[in-house]
């Protein structure tokens, strides 16, 4: 087990390095240089200090080849926690991202647990009661969840909230709590706002997991060992949870890791629509304004988070399924 864990972790390190390079490369793609961006800002009337520009160019090696720039950037992150400078906000990137990233984690994390808590019971139910009304309802909702893009669902919910309840759903906090310090009331306010984006982000994943669990469990339910256990007089529920469900959860755990990128993706776009204070809206603005360090840091951190998530799910999978450990 320890050996597998170490090997799997070592695999993740080059992956993260490649991801960081790809993120950096991605942001270098748009034509134009840092100086152009600043010049454009000057046109808009923002005050720019020539010396400050030179200093930044010097610090991040902006006039040097790409690899040098990348090295200056990544070594700054690893050694000093310096993610570079945001040109739009004129602040260090590090001061901008952590709070946003925290909210992204809260949103994707809660969506993740929502997916698991909802899809497992429904998946089991629709397999055990195949062709029942509940099963058909689950299948129908499942297909809709697959077909309705999450941002459209967010829009529809916001429309319904605005039109019929007269309030705008969106944001994480009621206006009076936005700038308030963290206390119990603010926490409750967050929870009361969180559940809608959580469902919106999680719905797609929930429906596909329900299908996976249902299919796996249906395969297991017909196997002879189930009949044997039943013949031995095990209670139906105990039998179900002890053997077939456990087995059918293995492919389920395997998909959990691949679901994380989807959830992060969904959270990004849903946040833009519902104007949540997560990384999504800021990333979009950074990309549109060619704020390269901010955008690259976001893309890299989101990807690294998913790599870590995938790593955790792989380790979980190895715990659940001994065959993988020894492969």
């Amino acid at each position: 087990m320890g050996g597998y864990f170490i090997r799997r972790t070592l695999y993740a390190i080059p992956a993260m390095l490649v991801i960081s390079f790809v993120s950096f490369l991605l942001i270098q793609l748009p034509p134009g240089t840092f100086a152009d961006t600043v010049a454009a800002e000057m046109m808009e009337g923002a005050s720019v200090n020539e010396d400050a520009i030179r200093a930044i160019e010097e610090r991040y090696g902006l006039n040097q080849p790409l690899l040098v720039q990348y090295w200056k950037w990544i070594s700054g992150i690893i050694l000093r926690g310096d993610f570079g400078q945001s040109f739009i906000w004129n602040r260090p990137v590090a001061s901008l991202i952590w709070e946003r990233l925290g909210y992204t984690l809260i949103l994707t994390g809660s969506a993740f647990f929502f997916v698991i808590l909802v899809s497992v019971p429904i998946g089991i139910y629709s397999a055990v009661r195949q062709h029942s009304v509940g099963d058909y309802v689950a299948t129908c909702v499942g297909f809709l969840g697959l077909a309705v893009p999450s941002f459209l669902l967010a829009l529809i919910l916001m429309y319904i909230g605005f039109r019929y309840f007269g309030q705008s759903i969106g944001g994480f906090f009621s206006p009076e709590y936005t700038r308030a310090p963290w206390d119990w009331a603010k926490y409750r306010d967050l929870l009361s706002h969180l559940w809608i984006p959580m469902i919106v982000v999680g719905l797609g994943g929930t429906t596909s997991l329900i299908r996976i669990i249902r299919a796996n469990l249906l395969d297991e339910l017909l196997k002879p060992y189930v009949v044997t256990a039943r013949a031995k007089g095990l209670s139906e529920l105990g039998l179900l949870l002890k053997y077939p469900v456990r087995l059918s959860l293995i492919p389920f755990v395997a998909t959990l890791g691949w679901m994380l990128p989807d959830l992060v993706s969904g959270a990004t776009i849903v946040s833009v629509v519902m104007s949540l204070p997560t990384t999504g809206p800021l990333l979009l603005r950074a990309l549109m304004g060619q704020d390269m360090y901010l955008a690259a840091s976001f893309i890299m951190l989101l990807s690294v988070l998913t790599v870590i998530g995938t790593l955790i799910s792989d380790v979980l999978l190895a715990i659940v399924d001994p065959r993988i450990r020894f492969h």
Binding site: A15, I19, F143, L146, A147, P149, Y159, P261, I269, L287
Partner: protein, 388 residues
């Protein structure tokens, strides 16, 4: 050459499957080709059958856009911004009783002094006659056939007809949705074709040769897939220069969508190559002295074409959703190109939506197309293994 037509040798068919097939199939079952068996199985999946008709219709719409849309997508009447949908009326009351005749009522508009908002009411005095094959803006279908006839339209080409309402600039949403069909539905096809080429070549190499190449391609796929797609796409799409022509942007977007798309196809192809490599019929073909290319193309590929088709069909809707999402965010296709995503961008503001909910309609088109493609893909996937 026999194997080419009927596919690879398959295990004996159990009797149970014979009952599921039409009676006339009893004798021909043993002789039926793989595609024949697939069709028999596919046609039992009623939802997939209906979906395939829907998809054919949607692509027909995409092909005859200029003829089907009553107006060009950029025709605007600014006084009629956000005009609500009109009901197409079929029966006209005349002195001699009810008479068939298509018409819509015109609009009477009033501007609120305080909010400066325009409200529309139906003006029953104003009848706008509508007819089939109406004369309208001239166009060239596929750049070849010149015409000025539109399937449906007002008799007077200047008259307002908004069957699905108007947008911010008083453009006809119905026409724009029809124009959007072409872009949205083909972007999935082009993107999937691109992913197919990449996926089959790289997945095939990976699965057939194995070893170091396999390991390398596997890692690349893993890394690409562990990056969250929307942020990755956003980064790539934001890199498209604003001054590029719409056509170039269109192709860039398809390339961006295939960056992730090919990995799923490559995985499917690799898995198939990997498992088929040791099958008896492949070894037999090799021993018979077939060249490597021959083994791959005429023995291995035919046995999993159907799976690839199913995977492809299931990949198209994802690309459609992705394009819609990117265009909705404003970093995908840009006006003047009309796609469903571009149209949905108009629906971004909840306050606007609350007064003109018809702006949601392009979303409905997306949902119908995606659902139908999903059902179709499911049907093909189930049918792809007719011996099951």
């Amino acid at each position: 050459m026999e194997t080419k037509k009927t596919g690879p040798p398959q295990p004996n068919i159990p009797d149970a499957t014979a009952n599921e097939l039409p009676p006339e199939a009893d004798i021909s079952l043993q002789l039926a080709s793989q595609w024949q068996l697939m069709w028999w199985r596919f046609r039992k999946h009623k939802l997939a059958l209906v979906s395939s008709i829907v998809i054919i219709l949607v692509y027909l719409v995409a092909a005859f856009v200029e003829f089907l849309a009553p107006f060009p997508p950029d025709r605007m009447i600014s006084q009629l911004a956000y005009a609500p949908p009109q009901r197409l009326r079929l029966w006209e009351k005349t002195d001699e009783g009810l008479k068939f005749g298509m018409y819509v009522y015109g609009y009477a508009s009033k501007i609120d002094v305080l909010s400066l908002q325009r409200t529309f009411t139906v003006d029953k005095e104003q009848k706008i006659a509508v007819r089939f094959f109406a004369k309208g803006a001239p166009y060239r279908l596929w750049g070849l056939i010149a015409s000025d006839r539109h399937l449906i339209g007002p008799v007077d080409p200047q008259a307002p007809m908004y069957l699905l309402g108007a947008d911010r600039l008083g453009r006809d949403l119905f026409s724009r949705m029809i124009y959007g069909t072409r872009v949205s539905m083909t972007i999935g096809l082009v993107g999937v074709t691109l992913s197919l080429v990449l996926g089959v070549v790289l997945g095939g190499v990976s699965g057939y040769y194995g070893g170091l190449v396999d390991l390398l391609i596997q890692r690349v796929m893993e890394i690409l897939r562990s990056m969250p797609t929307i942020p990755l796409w956003m980064g790539l799409a934001a890199a498209i220069p604003a001054y590029w022509s719409p056509l170039l942007v269109y192709f860039m977007i398809t390339i961006i969508l295939s960056v992730i798309g090919w990995t799923w196809l490559a995985q499917a192809v690799r898995g198939k190559f990997y498992s088929l490599k040791t099958e008896d019929f492949v070894i037999a073909a090799k021993l018979d002295g077939c060249s490597e290319l021959q083994v791959i193309l005429s023995h291995m590929v035919p046995s999993f074409t159907s799976h690839i088709i199913a995977t492809l069909t299931l990949a198209i809707p994802q690309m459609i959703i992705a394009e819609t999402a990117l265009s909705f965010l404003g970093i995908g296709l840009r006006p003047p190109v009309v796609s469903w995503g571009v149209l949905l961008r108009e629906a971004q503001n909840v306050r606007v939506l609350a007064t003109s909910p018809w702006l949601f309609l392009p979303g409905a088109a997306v949902i119908v197309a995606v659902l139908a493609l999903n059902f179709l893909g499911d049907g093909i996937r189930d049918a792809a293994d007719p011996y099951k």
